[in-house]
Amino acid sequence: MTDLTPILTEFWDHPNSWTLETYEDKQGYQALRKALAMPAADLVQMTKDSGLRGRGGAGFPTGMKWGFLPPPDGGPRYLVVNADESEPGTCKDIPLMMAAPQFLIEGVAITSYAIGCNHAFIYLRGEVVHVYRRLLRAVEEAYAAGYLGKDILGTGFDLDVTVHAGAGAYICGEETALLDSLEGRRGQPRLKPPFPAVAGLYARPTVVNNVESIASIPPILSRGADWFADMGTEKSQGFGIFSLSGHVTRPGQYEAPLGITLRELVDMAGGIREGHRLKFWTPGGSSTPIFTDAHWDVPLDFESVAAAGSMLGTRALQIFDETVSVVRAVSRWTDFYAHESCGKCTPCREGTFWLKQIMTRLEHGQGTQEDIDKLVDICDNILGRSFCALGDGATSPITSAVQYFREEFGAGTSQPWWELFPPEKSVLFPVRAKETVSA
């Protein structure tokens, strides 16, 4: 039995949760005071000891990432926060920055001090204007209070923070594409190595971290690495925000130790939509292979989810009941990847183009017998051969859906999905009889 651990979400219900005043009332910026009295190396070690792993999907150990920076050479080093939250199903960073942006700003200040950075950037996706307002205001308030700017809290540490709005491109969530975009270019991924730690923003040593990772730093510093490491599982320590969406009674944000199960979370969310049952779900966004009702009790930590054939990703649990056509769901995700492919590498650019055509045929019940094997074959030629993880992600829903629901793809050779799965049965509002959905 796992209980929720509201830490980053703790005071989201405060009527002025986003203000500096509220944050300071909740012990905000005490961690920064503590940090500035410590040697920077100790902060890196603390983060390593906490076991914090990147909350943006890949799960790379955050402290280790910081430790990869080469020794200071007198030139600038940068922290870039990845706030380009766009993975389908993922909806944790946006509410965090809207409700409690100061967690992120304090985390930015502490991290910058730890890695020797004097100019940090927050790259926010451009399609959330009110979150941008909140971040701009949070930074303004932090400057006015002396938590940012010159000689922070009289310690001699200087830090400027720039909040930068993107302009609509999923690929900019990939860290090197994000850096190109932040440099004023098309957002296309870079060849690695060199990794950003060595040659990142403006070819200088750079740390790129997810919003939730950085926001977790102040609580870790306040309460100790051991406190954090005691939560979760042996290799997936700490807490994270789990985002439940779709066919559950109470979709929403549930902050819990890693290792909690879908069964526990769905219980808290009031169960699957009344009168229905679970059919398939994503553990960590659309780029993570789907799970089924065989996976109710898989602990949602990095290792267990991987052992069960998927990825923890961003803990974006999109839940679909038995009214939903797998072919329809996967086809729409495929449209997404084809739309968002940046065009830089051939397997992804051409592969998603072909996948989309085959998936569309299957949606319309016009697939051929060879189509299913062809889909899997194309996926095999994209996975591991693309420039970045976008191409890999495009294959995940297809290969996993064929694995678990091959017969539904088979039906796509003779019958459109909307005959098998009338769409009005899936929607969350009452539908008048005359309304129908076209594909």
């Binding site: 509201p6 979400t9 405060h14 959330v128 204007v129 440099e183 969406s245 979709p251 999109q318 739309h339």
Partner: protein, 249 residues
């Protein structure tokens, strides 16, 4: 090329605008561009916010806007155009006063987004990236906007309208066309114009950060469980520690 014909296609990328900026507009743009450039160690980084700034003046990325950005940042017009055409928020032709985006990525689509899209598209008689004749509403199919727990989601000038229905969305576009104030579910108290929104995205605060809620109801569900305000039933005991270890191995 003949000088008489218009753009080859209504959506010709970045079609040139005939009028140069008037001196006052140009002076304001130059002043704002300097403020944007000053935020970054290298000035090319100012390009994305500068393109938002152009949209705040012209309503889309105009040819004269591309020229302006190129001049300010010592880039070629081709370099600026290459960036402007990469990102979906940069519009290549005049945009309506309000961009209304219906999320039709999988989760929202299944939960009702497809039905919302069909209804509102038919109601307005326009498709994706098309604008009503009164110039008020540009309709878009948008990708996941990070509000899946509020599905189906509609965005108006990139403010959140959560838990929408076909009827509520038709009402939204009609209110926008009639010039009535509309209030996002989570956002400022009213939706500003596309140009005003673009100026915020260029990094110029409009002083409205304190409007609206901190969090919507779905964002608080876990908190309500943790506080005991919301009770729930456990359907089965959690797996025994031995069982979970077996699964891990």
């Amino acid at each position: 090329m003949s000088e008489n014909h218009g753009p080859l296609h209504v959506q010709t990328p970045l079609r040139a605008s005939d009028e140069p900026y008037d001196p006052q507009t140009l002076a304001d743009l130059v002043r704002d561009a300097e403020l944007i450039v000053a935020r970054y160690p290298q000035k090319r980084s100012a390009l994305l916010p500068l393109l938002h700034l152009i949209q705040s003046v012209d309503g889309y990325v105009t040819g004269r806007g591309v020229t302006f950005c190129a001049e300010q940042l010592d880039l070629t017009e081709a370099e600026v155009s290459g960036v402007a055409t990469f990102y979906t928020q940069y519009k290549r032709h005049p945009n309506g006063e309000y961009t209304v985006g219906v999320c039709t990525n999988t989760l929202c689509a299944v939960m009702g987004g497809d039905l919302i899209w069909d209804t509102v598209s038919e109601h307005l008689g326009i498709g994706h990236d098309e604008t009503t004749e009164d110039g008020k509403v540009t309709l878009e199919r948008v990708e996941c906007n990070a509000a899946c727990d509020y599905a189906p989601v509609v965005m108006a000038n990139w403010e959140f309208f959560d838990n929408q229905t076909p009827e509520s969305t038709v009402r939204l576009v009609e209110d926008l066309r009639a010039g009535k104030d509309v209030t996002p579910t989570r956002g400022a108290t009213s939706v500003c114009s596309f140009k005003q929104m673009s100026r915020v995205l260029a990094g110029f605060s409009d002083g409205r950060a304190d409007e609206g809620v901190g969090a919507g109801p779905a964002s608080l569900e876990g908190l309500r469980i943790a506080s005991g305000e919301q009770t729930y039933t456990r359907t089965a005991p959690a797996p025994a520690p031995e069982a979970s270890k077996e699964q891990q191995s």
